[in-house]
């Protein structure tokens, strides 16, 4: 087993992707399907929220992924700027559209849940607002990728935008917190008892917790599979472009 940097070689990366894509995608599909069916049909209704509570099996994993995908893009952007591995830049590019969709799913499921529970589709709550801002950051990032012809310049500029954007996204998060009081509940998965597995008052009950974990694992693996696939596609696309350019010269 060599170092992780071996996978910066596009050929090696593509080979590895071919080997792991099917198993990862299969486990992702199984985990998501099992988690959703378990969550939707084999858990009791919440005594106050009724059946609406079951939207957490989509909402929580999507929201979690929306933030972590941006974080992954930040890491790959830094790797690209420091070590100039093209695979890293392409992985960031491949992840962004997935991040947008996750953000939209989180916003949409939140609105659907909020309508019966809070009596409104939308409230200018700090968490909701932060997600809307995150959505805008994703849009800007993708638009910048699309607007620049030279792939290396595009990778450089989007990487810097991602880093600067991360700082401003954090700033916005605190600014928004200061600006308005929240309606959204706090994080309730990793509270007291989560590590020991005990069932405590503050935490989501274990009945809901296990299928939720299953869904989160499913979403994470689904994202991994998608990014591997999309990165490989980007590599192929770039190789095609290079071959075409060579053809034209010859």
């Amino acid at each position: 087993m060599g170092s992780i940097w071996e996978y910066a070689n596009p050929v090696k990366f593509s080979q590895t992707v071919s080997r792991f894509l099917l198993p990862v995608a299969t486990i992702a599909a199984i985990a998501t399907v099992v988690g959703l069916i378990w969550g939707f049909f084999f858990t009791p209704d919440d005594y106050r929220q009724g059946a609406t509570v079951k939207i957490i099996y989509l909402h929580v994993p999507a929201a979690l992924m929306a933030i972590n995908i941006w974080f992954m893009m930040l890491v790959t952007s830094l790797i690209w700027l420091v070590r100039r591995h093209h695979v890293s830049a392409l992985a960031a590019k491949a992840a962004a559209p997935v991040g947008v969709v996750m953000t939209l799913i989180a916003l949409w499921t939140g609105a659907v849940w909020g309508q019966p529970m809070w009596g409104t589709w939308w409230a200018w709550d700090p968490r909701l607002t932060s997600f809307l801002i995150l959505f805008l950051f994703y849009l800007g990032y993708i638009a910048l990728w699309e607007a620049i012809d030279n792939p290396d310049t595009a990778a450089d500029l989007t990487a810097v935008l991602c880093i600067v954007g991360s700082v401003f996204a954090m700033l916005s998060r605190y600014a928004v917190n200061f600006w308005n009081q929240g309606l959204h509940q706090g994080a309730s998965i990793m509270r007291a008892g989560a590590v020991t597995g005990g069932d405590t008052e503050e935490k989501v009950s274990n009945v809901f917790f296990y299928p939720l974990m299953m869904c989160i694992i499913g979403f994470v693996l689904f994202f991994v599979a998608l990014v591997l696939l999309r990165t490989r596609t980007e590599i192929h696309k770039r190789r095609t472009r290079a071959l075409l350019a060579r053809e034209r010269l010859a």
Binding site: I133, L157, V164, F168, S172, V176
Partner: protein, 218 residues
């Protein structure tokens, strides 16, 4: 650096330089607001700080693509980049010139527009203070956006899409400072946060702007 600043200012003040456009835009936004929400003075008083801040922000945004695009097109930017002047200094000067030609007139004009929106008397000081403190941040962040999109033809819309999310913290604290000032509340927290953002971006963001400009000039 001084020569560059003087050159930018001269170009901006000459005919066709776009000086005054921002302030005219600001005026139009302020005039259009009562048409859209109604002339009721209580309501206008309530929304005046927010509207004035939003108008100033949009007026700032309008002139951003001028910061670097013209110099990029006629090759001045290449010359400046090959001169011994550090590029970090160049983008700082560009931001300063943008602030002098756009930010300062907005700050000066804001009290007049405040009258139009029925801003309470105690609000004027804090409105001017918040804009004076906040507009430099708008210029510096905007210069970063201009440096990012300088190589893109017709990048104006993209520039807005990239820059507006970055303006969120400045807008929140600036408008909050003006609002609290107008309502006579304690202004310490937003004042300190706004000052922190402004001085933070002035200190750090020119390095990012120079970095992306170098990437674009390659």
């Amino acid at each position: 650096m001084k020569a560059l600043l003087l050159r930018d200012l001269k170009l901006a003040f000459r005919a066709g330089g776009g000086f005054g456009l921002g302030i005219a835009f600001f005026l139009i936004v302020v005039i259009l607001v009562p048409f859209s929400v109604g002339p009721e003075s209580g309501l206008l008083t309530k929304i005046a700080p927010g509207v004035l801040w939003l108008g100033a922000l949009l007026a700032c945004l309008l002139s951003l693509d001028r910061i670097l695009a013209l110099d990029w097109e006629d090759g001045t930017l290449d010359l400046v980049a090959t001169s011994p002047l550090p590029l970090e200094g160049v983008v700082s000067v560009k931001a300063l010139a943008h602030w002098i030609t756009t930010g300062v007139p907005l700050v000066v004009a804001a009290p007049v527009f405040g009258v139009l929106l029925n801003l309470p008397p105690q609000g004027f000081v804090w409105l001017v203070a918040s804009l004076a403190l906040g507009t430099p941040a708008l210029s510096v962040i905007g210069t970063f956006g201009a440096a990012l999109t300088v190589g893109i033809k017709r990048g104006g819309l993209l520039l807005s899409l990239l820059i507006l999310p970055l303006y969120v913290p400045t807008l929140i604290f600036g408008a909050e400072l003006a609002r609290r000032g107008a309502e006579g509340q304690d202004v310490t927290t937003p004042l300190l946060m706004l000052a922190g953002i402004t001085f933070g971006v002035i200190a750090l963001l020119p390095f990012a702007s120079a970095l992306v400009l170098r990437m674009n000039l390659r």
